[in-house]
């Protein structure tokens, strides 16, 4: 197992380097000029020669005149910065946000907290609903409940999430006024204590969580259902029933444990996705999360920020895949990962 994990970590480092080079090169292909953008605000106050001097200085300061490979190595921390020090990704410097005018890591912290807060609720709620419903539908395959759930899940799966958001907003916020329409805090409120702040935040994220949960029901329910149907058709289930075991034991101890293997991949994926925000949900509900930040970074051409976010997700995905592979062995001893 240890050897296998070490080998995979080696692959992770290699893949990370390749992805980082590709991403960096791709963003540098986009025709933009951060120095020009930065000076646009003072352009009118400068004479042309003054502007040109400042522009050249700024390009040199930002290292924009160096070849692509030098800029990449500098960004990675494998080449000296303009001040002669190594100060890149490998030294823990995720870059500098040209839009927020501060270190990318400082920009990411708050949105990341918000995203994790929302996604934890959404993921646990979704799994809590979809797994029992999927099992129930598989056990009662073809019955009215199963058929109606097929229709509901197809609808949930097919309707775009922004449509679901707007429909839910109309009913829950505008018509019935149960939930606030946007943000994660009541405007102008002063909290007496942390509990009040927590309750207010919970109140604000309830509708986004409901929308995210609703939108994710279809896929997982159908996935669990089909895995369970396959497991229930196996000979060992017939044997278990023939032995006179209780139906509950047959379903949960025999069928569900065997159906778990394909499902575990998705479940792990869901838990890993708690770090990634939803561009549509966060923008629609004006939530300051990772999805919104990413979208904003792209729109503002704030590429160091976008690259920092993408590199973080690259690491999360690579480590996540390793964990999924290792977890197979834990769930199913037949799958060996020690070679």
């Amino acid at each position: 197992m240890g050897k296998y994990v070490l080998k995979r970590i080696g692959y992770i480092v290699l893949v990370f380097l390749i992805i980082s080079l590709l991403m960096y090169a791709l963003y540098n292909l986009i025709p933009s000029d951060p120095a020009r953008a930065q000076l646009e605000g003072v352009r009118q106050t400068l004479r042309p020669d003054e502007y040109e001097t400042m522009y050249r200085q700024l390009r040199a300061q930002l290292g924009l005149d160096d070849p692509l490979i030098v800029r990449y190595l500098r960004w990675m921390g494998l080449w000296t910065d303009v001040d002669g020090t190594f100060n890149g990704l490998l030294q823990g410097n995720l870059g500098y946000s040209q839009f927020f005018k501060k270190d990318a890591v400082d920009v990411i912290v708050e949105p990341m907290k918000n995203t994790i807060f929302i996604n934890i609720f959404s993921t646990i709620l979704s799994l809590g609903i979809t797994i029992p419903v999927g099992i129930y539908c598989a056990v009662r395959k073809g019955k009215k409940f199963d058929q109606s759930m097929q229709v509901v899940t197809i609808l949930g799966y097919s309707i775009p999430i922004y449509i679901i958001s707007l429909i839910f907003m109309f009913f829950f916020c505008v018509l019935w006024r149960i939930f606030p329409i946007m943000g994660s805090r009541t405007a102008g409120i002063t909290y007496a204590n942390d509990w009040e702040a927590f309750v207010d935040k919970l109140y604000h994220i309830t509708l986004p969580v409901i929308v995210m949960t609703f939108a994710s029901l279809g896929g997982m329910t159908r996935y669990v259902r089909s895995a369970m149907i396959e497991a229930l058709s196996m000979d060992y289930i017939r044997t278990a029933r023939a032995k006179g075991l209780r139906e509950k034991v047959v379903i949960y101890s025999h069928a569900w444990r065997n159906a778990l293997l394909p499902v575990v991949t998705s479940i792990f994926g869901w838990f890993l996705s708690i770090f990634s925000g939803s561009v549509i949900i966060e923008n629609t509900f004006a939530l300051n999360g990772m999805g919104r930040l990413y979208w904003q970074g792209l729109n503002n051409q704030d590429f160091e920020l976008v690259l920092a976010i993408q590199m973080f997700y690259t690491v999360v995905s690579l480590v996540g895949n390793l964990l999924i592979d290792v977890s197979y062995g834990l769930v199913d001893p037949r799958v060996r990962v020690d070679k």
């Binding site: 025709p31 003054e50 907290k113 707007l166």
Partner: protein, 639 residues
């Protein structure tokens, strides 16, 4: 277990609904400002680092003790609340000294006295070599006598900035910056607390050679951390001098809360605010209307889109909304200080010919265009101005009499083209149908891609205009319908080809910025659609320069080389003393008239903006250069 957890979570959420229901609507007297631009949390003065619109608004609300400010009409005026006297001395060497005495008794929000030092220390910082390492964008060192030497590290003090006594200081402006019509702006400096921004012990001193920072190590490394903390901090310890205090900024919720500063002495008219609290929250385009209806915010500033304005009007007329909220809405309208436009490049291809540019203008029904695009909330202008500019207001009658409106006239456009020589077919025969051609010289032909050379060496240029438009742009879509697909355009023998690209790529073509790629250095597109806005300082001095280096640096993006217009734009600001408004206005009118004749741009629409606010807010007015941060000081809460 999971089911139990899910049920518990659902219960917790229901519980939160029950607890928080009372706090869902906004209370009377609190302005909740919905902002569509990001609050970055950078509250540093001016545009030292970032210059987002909402950040700037928050900075203005918390710091407005400036010696010189702009009034309701966008005019620069001395602020008597801060400035006791402002004396101007014209020096023999062509420099100009402003000696400013500030009023005694002014204090920051924490009660600390404001002295002359508070106005000069940051000018020393902004003129110092530290700005590069601190990533501050500043050109202050170029304004002051001795600024360049101080910036280059050749001088230890900034000689153009002097401390005279506790309440008096002077600023001497370099000769090459004068005369300048807006030179009073050089004397506009704010009060900022040196201890809050640089740290304890720091001070500014003047030993007779100019001002310098003392009391601590004056290096980027030494002050950066403190400076950054001061930039991003919001709370009771934030030291500022404006109508409001920034009491909280919730980074997670992107929400800023401001409360009245009781130590504030008033704006330039002595006006103090009476709205106790302002909360700035994030608004989204997709949901702003529902947010207004449900009281998530009650103030929506500068609505620009015609559809959104009509939605706002519907909300204001909806009595059910008012009944549910307990208040209704009012609105103000004001003119945009700018316009949406077609911009030509006038040095190559068909758009180098005035007649072609004028013909394009006459083939587009601009009134219909403005009406359709702005949905009735806009107008058409005929020159480089917006209807909100004082220059326009003072010259309206003259402009109406002297400018060509280029009314829609397909026959007139054809006549212009014929008179200009667009009278050939592609084979050199007399024009019959299709795209028109013109015989051009080799110099006129340039490298234009569509030229045809006949066997006898005659070069024919086709009337094909390559148009660069940015993606996801509703103006481009409407232009495509009303201009490109207009049958009269084809009938006139003209073809306009739309090329869609990202905004940045379009800018690269406009600036002909070969550093971004060789293709950008080649003149390719003769027509672009953009928008432009003016600030109170209307300075286009270098916009029509013919200096090759300046042109290469992207100053003359119209690539219009006309001596008259170049001279007029120079004279307008660099040839007129700041108190000679009549001469300025006369030159401005000549410039506009020449511009209207040469038509380097076609103005398409100048919006009417709408701001929507709760009807309990009385006394709110807004104008092109009179924004929320200024106007809110005059508001009261209706009984």
């Amino acid at each position: 277990m999971k089911k139990l957890l899910a049920m518990l979570l659902a219960l917790a959420m229901l519980f939160s609904v029950a607890l928080a229901e009372e706090a869902a609507t906004s209370e009377k007297g609190v302005v909740i400002y919905g902002s569509t631009t990001e609050i970055t949390g950078d509250f540093a003065p001016g545009a030292w680092w970032s210059n987002g619109a909402t950040d700037m608004m928050l900075r203005d609300l918390t710091n407005d003790y400036a010696t010189v400010v702009t009034n309701q009409g966008g005019e620069l005026v001395v602020n008597p609340t801060v400035t006791k006297s402002l004396e101007t001395t014209e020096n023999e060497d062509g420099t100009k000294t402003y000696t400013i005495q500030i009023n005694e008794g002014l204090v920051y929000n924490n009660g600390d006295a404001i002295t002359a030092k508070d106005f000069v220390w940051h000018q020393v910082l902004l003129s110092s070599p530290l700005i590069t390492d601190l990533a501050i964008t500043s050109s202050a060192y170029l304004n002051y006598v001795g600024g360049q030497a101080f910036y280059d590290g050749e001088a230890t003090a900034l000689s153009g900035v002097r401390l005279i006594d506790d309440y008096t200081f002077s600023l001497t402006i370099a000769a090459d910056k004068l005369p300048y019509f807006y030179d009073l702006n050089y004397a506009a400096v704010y009060a900022f607390d040196i201890e809050y921004w640089l740290g304890e012990g720091y001070d500014v001193a003047d030993d007779g050679e100019g001002c310098y920072i003392t009391g601590g190590e004056f290096t980027a490394a030494a002050i950066q951390e403190h400076l950054n903390n001061a930039r991003f901090y919001a709370g009771p310890d934030r030291v500022s001098a404006g109508p409001y205090n920034l009491v909280e900024f919730d980074q997670a919720a992107l929400q800023a809360t401001l409360e009245i500063n009781p130590n504030y002495a008033g704006n330039f008219e002595g006006q103090k605010p009476s709205i106790e609290k302002i909360v700035v929250v994030r608004a989204e385009d997709a949901t702003w209307a529902d947010a207004m209806k449900t009281g998530a915010f009650n103030f929506y500033d500068t609505i620009t889109d015609g559809t959104q304005i009509n939605t706002a009007m519907d909300i204001m007329e909806d009595e059910a909304v008012a009944a549910q909220l307990g208040y209704g809405f009012d609105y103000v309208t004001f003119d945009r200080p700018g316009y949406g436009k077609i911009q030509f490049q006038c040095d190559f291809g068909p758009t180098q010919f005035v007649a072609v540019r004028q013909a394009v203008a006459m083939l587009l029904d601009r009134n219909e265009f403005a009406n359709t695009f702005c949905q009735g909330w806009g107008s058409v202008v005929n020159g480089p101005y917006g209807t909100g500019l004082w220059q326009y207001m003072d010259s309206e009658e003259w402009l109406n009499e002297n400018l060509n409106a280029y009314a829609y006239d397909a026959a007139g456009a054809v006549q212009l083209l014929v008179d200009d020589g667009w009278v050939y077919n592609a084979d050199g025969s007399d024009y019959t149908e299709g795209v028109r051609y013109k015989k051009v010289t080799a110099e006129e032909a340039g490298t234009y891609a569509h030229n045809v050379t006949l066997e006898d060496g005659t070069i024919l240029m086709p009337l094909i205009i390559e148009w660069s438009s940015s993606e996801n742009n509703s103006v481009s879509d409407l232009l495509n319908v009303m201009l490109v697909q207009n049958p009269d355009v084809a009938a006139a023998g003209m073809e306009i080809r739309q090329n869609i690209m990202t905004f940045d790529e379009m800018l690269n073509f406009i600036y002909r910025d070969a550093t971004q790629g060789e293709k950008y250095g080649v003149p390719t597109y003769g027509m672009y659609n953009l928008a432009t806005n003016w600030t109170p300082i209307y300075d286009v001095a270098y916009n029509f320069t013919d200096d090759p280096e300046m042109v290469a640096a992207g100053w003359n993006t119209n690539y219009l080389f006309d001596e008259t217009i170049d001279q007029l734009t120079m004279d307008m600001v660099y040839g007129v003393e700041s108190d000679d408004v009549d001469t300025y206005l006369s030159i401005w009118q000549q410039y506009v008239q020449r511009w209207n004749e040469l038509l380097p741009e076609i103005p398409l629409y100048s919006n009417v903006y709408v701001t929507m606010y709760p009807d309990w807010l009385e006394g709110y007015t807004q104008d092109s250069f009179w924004d929320f941060q200024q106007a809110i000081l005059y508001c009261t809460v209706a009984e």
